[in-house]
Symmetry: C2
Subunit: 357 residues, 2 copies
DNA sequence: AACTCTCCCGACATCGATGTCAAAACTTGC
DNA sequence: GCAAGTTTTGACATCGATGTCGGGAGAGTT
């Protein structure tokens, strides 16, 4: 009997070096001359294995370059977590999205959780496709910056128990946690600031009206003006600017008009930069005030430096991630919307004095 | 017998709505009154299923909100691909990394392949941890921007047949495809440009010398100067600047020195911006020339606008991704290094005239 | 009506790993 | 030296899904 066992093991050993493909636990066990369960024990540091066998298994692992298949083990493990969450972002390469992404990563890193990231590009179909792809790959949780009109299609995902947090834009048709900027308040702060510096004729240059944050910023703009008894001039309100060049053209048109505004409020990054270019083109950057929503790199190095209502994408990412992980840890609460404050950063362009000072 | 079968199915049906957790193929099959293999056939569009059963399965899928577990099926499918690749980047939130990331995504999207992304932050341990985590999760391929001194530890991964491409920095100790900027040539072009504009005393402000690209850019700088018979002044060469403020301080020190350089060559983004700030602080931005390696947003809006040697991260990402996918498609070739050309973009700061014009 | 011949279906094995549990090997106590 | 107790071990079932293949139902033929 014992010799027979020895023979088996010797035979197994000689067959245990797979030249192609990845070594599996079975290969390790064969090479080490133990059962795969024992090898599993060694790998997971479970007690109850002789030192000699531990050493044999370790050696086999090193020799084969074995790496456990986390995916396969998550199939069996309770809860089936793969220790990866998904981020459905607007565009991984834009500064806001990538700052959010980075903040998620920093929180996830502490738990050895990896991140799937994808760009929606304001395309609702792409949003669904990404979410399908991430859930099919068993992402443990989702952070979503939605582009679609409503997200009822998420019901199944949520019912299945996958934690979902919306970031930057509120959920529509589903009830989940959300982490949003104070868009309304931030826009209003910009308007109050401009009014305080003597402006009444403030133009609004805004992003696509399908984007909730653009709507909220426009609301904040209107209401703050109304607080001062001012109604925006209809032709000084331009919506649906989604690229830098569209914004530049729109701002140029305003500046070349018969009664140009004395100040501009731009509701988004690229729009702000387009407006800066237009002001520069017309050499009006020191005459017409500008406050932009959302900060951007180098805003302080322009001349004049650009006054902005800064969001805090890093804080949003941290908060979103911590909500997800608390749910993954088993905490329960009613879905809640969290607002992250905005900050008015005065740099010069917003402090150009207007006619009513 | 037939009645018994009918009873079983009825019983199964009534038990087939799991209230918690995700519905599985088994749940679908039970609800539809078919075997799980038949349900699998319907889902994968395989022939050989009655219309009536197809309809029953479809209905069950809709009712349960069933979503296939891609992870589990990849276990069984030949090759075991999970249709996800991993990007090990310097920092997902910096413009270079995120442009690379985005380009990878664009290529991957055409194949419905998702992307894991992670930030190394120049930490070799983090690099290994990320690669371990991604391979444990069965990423089909890896794009790596390495931070470590050598990557011999990748041997197992490569032997297992996982395609690996290095981007931006060359592999050391392993033989894999690489997609690099022409760092040497780009730096040399910057120097030639400055010399042509009358500069001889050109300072070098560079990133950590552990970073290969920084080494190559420094080499290009030195050799191009040598071509003109010029040796850099030792105290006008500053290495190991890895933050904007370190670069600003270093540039300030140079400008305040007894014989300040007439031009600066900065080897990296943040260093360039730090130098811009220092020049601005000393109001020398129109007297001292500046050429930076790597373009950055708004460089054209500064005054003077910043002349740069632009890299092409998007092209690097596209190329890296296409190499990976060709290997995943089964193509074979010897590992090759591809160089992506750089472009000198003249914007003003690099065209400040020097004393030898 | 009996017999092929398709065609469809579902029991079974499998992917890589882990939880269960009873048998085997060991130790200890008398 | 033997029974009792403890530690180690590995066969087995399982996670969710797919490939294999023999068997059964139905259609078509004579």
């Amino acid at each position: 009997m014992v010799p027979a066992g020895g023979e088996n093991r010797a035979a197994a050993t000689s067959a245990a070096m797979p030249s192609k493909g990845r070594a599996t636990l079975r290969d390790v066990a064969l090479l080490a001359g133990v059962s795969h369960k024992t090898a599993s024990r060694v790998i997971n540091g479970e007690p109850g294995v002789t030192d000699a066998k531990v050493a044999a298994v370790r050696q086999a692992i090193a020799k084969l370059g074995y790496r456990p298949n986390f995916t396969a083990s998550s199939l069996r493990r309770a809860g089936g977590r793969i220790a990866a969450i998904a981020a459905v972002l607007e565009d991984v390469s834009n500064p806001f999205s990538s700052a959010l992404h980075r903040a998620l990563e920093d929180v996830a890193r502490e738990r050895n959780v990896m991140i799937f990231a994808g760009s929606v590009d304001e395309d609702p179909e792409r949003e669904r496709a990404l979410i399908d792809a991430f859930t099919a790959r068993q992402a443990d949780a989702l952070v979503i910056v939605p582009a679609s009109a409503n997200q009822r299609y998420l019901a199944d995902v949520i019912n299945a128990g996958t934690p979902v947090v919306f970031a930057d834009r509120p959920p529509v048709g589903v009830d989940v946690d959300a982490v949003l900027s104070d868009n309304h308040g931030g826009a209003a702060a910009a308007v109050h600031h401009l009014v305080a510096h003597g402006h009444r004729d403030i133009a609004y240059l805004g992003d696509l009206r399908t984007i909730t944050t653009a709507q909220q910023r426009y609301q904040g703009f209107r209401e703050a003006l109304a607080d001062h008894g001012v109604r925006p001039q209809p032709d000084h309100v331009v919506h649906d600017l989604h690229t830098e060049s569209a914004a530049r053209d729109a701002a140029a048109r305003l500046l070349a008009g018969p009664t140009p505004p004395t100040a501009l409020f731009t509701s988004q990054n690229l729009v702000t930069i387009g407006a800066v270019r237009a002001l520069r083109d017309h050499d009006r950057q020191h005459q017409v005030a500008l406050v932009g929503f959302d900060d951007f790199p180098l805003a302080d190095l322009l001349q004049p430096a650009v006054t902005v209502v800064a969001q805090n994408p890093a804080e949003m990412g941290r908060l979103a991630a911590s909500l997800l992980f608390r749910r993954l840890d088993g905490e329960h609460w009613m879905p809640t919307t969290h607002f992250v404050p905005t900050t008015l950063i005065q740099r010069g362009s917003g402090e150009v004095i207007g006619p009513h000072a």
